[in-house]
Amino acid sequence: MTAALIALLLPLFTALCLLLLRSRSGVLVIVTSLLTLLAAAWSLYDVTVNGPQWLELGDWPPPLAIRFQLQPITALLLVFSAMIHLLVAVYAAGSQHSKTRYTDFWPLSCLLQGSLNALWLSGDLFNWYVTLELLGLAAVALVALSGRKAYGPALNYLLLSLGASLVYLLGVALAYGRYGVLDISLLGAMTEADTTTRIAWWLMTLGLMLKAALWPFHLWLPRAHASAPTAVSALLSALVVKGPLFILWRLWSEGAPTELAVEAGPVLAVAGIAALILGGWSALRTPWLKSLVAYSTVAQLGYALMALGLLMYWQLPALDAALWLFVLAHGLAKASMFLAAGELQASLGSKRVSALRGTTETMPVAMFAFAVAGGSLIGLPPSGGFLAKWLLLEPMFETVNHWPWVVGILLGTLISAGYVFRVVALAFDRADPVPPDFSPDRFAHWLALLPALVVWGLALISEPLIHWLTGVPL
């Protein structure tokens, strides 16, 4: 637990120190990110060896205190967010196109990471509300770094996020009114399937869906993510939307009575399929590169939502592995994609997809990163996206009644292939290549490729990873 606590507090202290000293030192952030990553990895090792752990804050007895809970998945998410943050920090410090180097990006991104870690570790309904607000404010502040053109989307994002928080908070109030506790594990032992509980859980769910941009509450995401600076887009798409998803998962898999979960599961799963298809369709249609990547986030979150819904519907804890592999694979791939897209866009001086004509010649590494990351989004073997899809497909095929859900995956796969190769095919167009405005930054291109390679490299540790996620002893 000590390691997890270090992973939580280190970014916060870093942010405070940076602010106090008015420092914009990327190097410091990179170093502390690295230390955070080490601490997170240590906590992962700890939880694997010693099992789940709890920490009562202030040593107060359970119903009173806020409890930190370190589960294997929590530790994994700590490592994951530290990894992405480190990568983005290196990008922001190293790329010549990085617009965030001499801004308050550094303390803000550290605060963002700290809030996210607080969210992973918490298990208290109200504490989650506060972490959500932290996350939301940090995210909006980061979007606003892009300058005036981002203020419109940022304000819209902020207002919807605030509204969503209050929807969630009303649900929390109802849950507290009904059961008198706020800790999710304690709630899990008490909840019954009555009207108040149902409404409370649905309120929290709706609020969180809005925050996570899950279909049909996704409309704010593409503009906000597309207008942010590149490093921020990567953080937002890879990490921030996963926070509410985590709460949603714990809410239903731990806190809700089985009956309610079974009832709500299909609704979420269908929303997931709708996200896959409609988000994918928008990604196919949009003329803007970053919007395409952002819409793809909407679509890919559909997979996670589908996994969550089916997990609830069939009461299959094995689908946890599918859900979190999706999150992991998507986070890595999306970080790669946004960095690549940002670099391409900055070098070409155009935000249009059509400007990518001929980029396989002019900027092969960045384009390759985009394509490789896209391969994981499509779910091509043996990438991380494929592993997740495989785990999701298996239980679908086990019973004949589950087969219709396969159609959702099939459509999702084809449509993601559509929007990924829409870009890739264009990049091979040699008829009329668009020459780069600025000299491409090779370091940043290779950096963008890195997470994409990691997500494919998951194949090398796939079996232990899946066993670990599904709780099978190694």
């Binding site: 607000e133 203020y151 419109g152 902020l158 509204g163 009303l170 935000k351």
Partner: protein
Amino acid sequence: MTQVLFYLILGVCLWALGLYGLLRLKESIRRIISVNIMGSGVFMVMVALAARSEDPDPVMHALVVTGLVVAISATAFALRLSVADVQEDDQ
């Protein structure tokens, strides 16, 4: 109908009203006000719930204090953002 229930219902109504305003209005300052009305609704539900027991529930009161701070912080930023010079996106 007790006092608690009365305020619970009132809180819920305020919340729904705020939500309606947030969804329907376009002017950003008015939307920010709507969000605040929504928040007041939730706080009313929470304070009413706290008033159920003989001694008011200190946990709920503390949560509302925290909630108020969060609300004012977000409102301050939202207001600043809403009056910042918005440049139309070239998209």
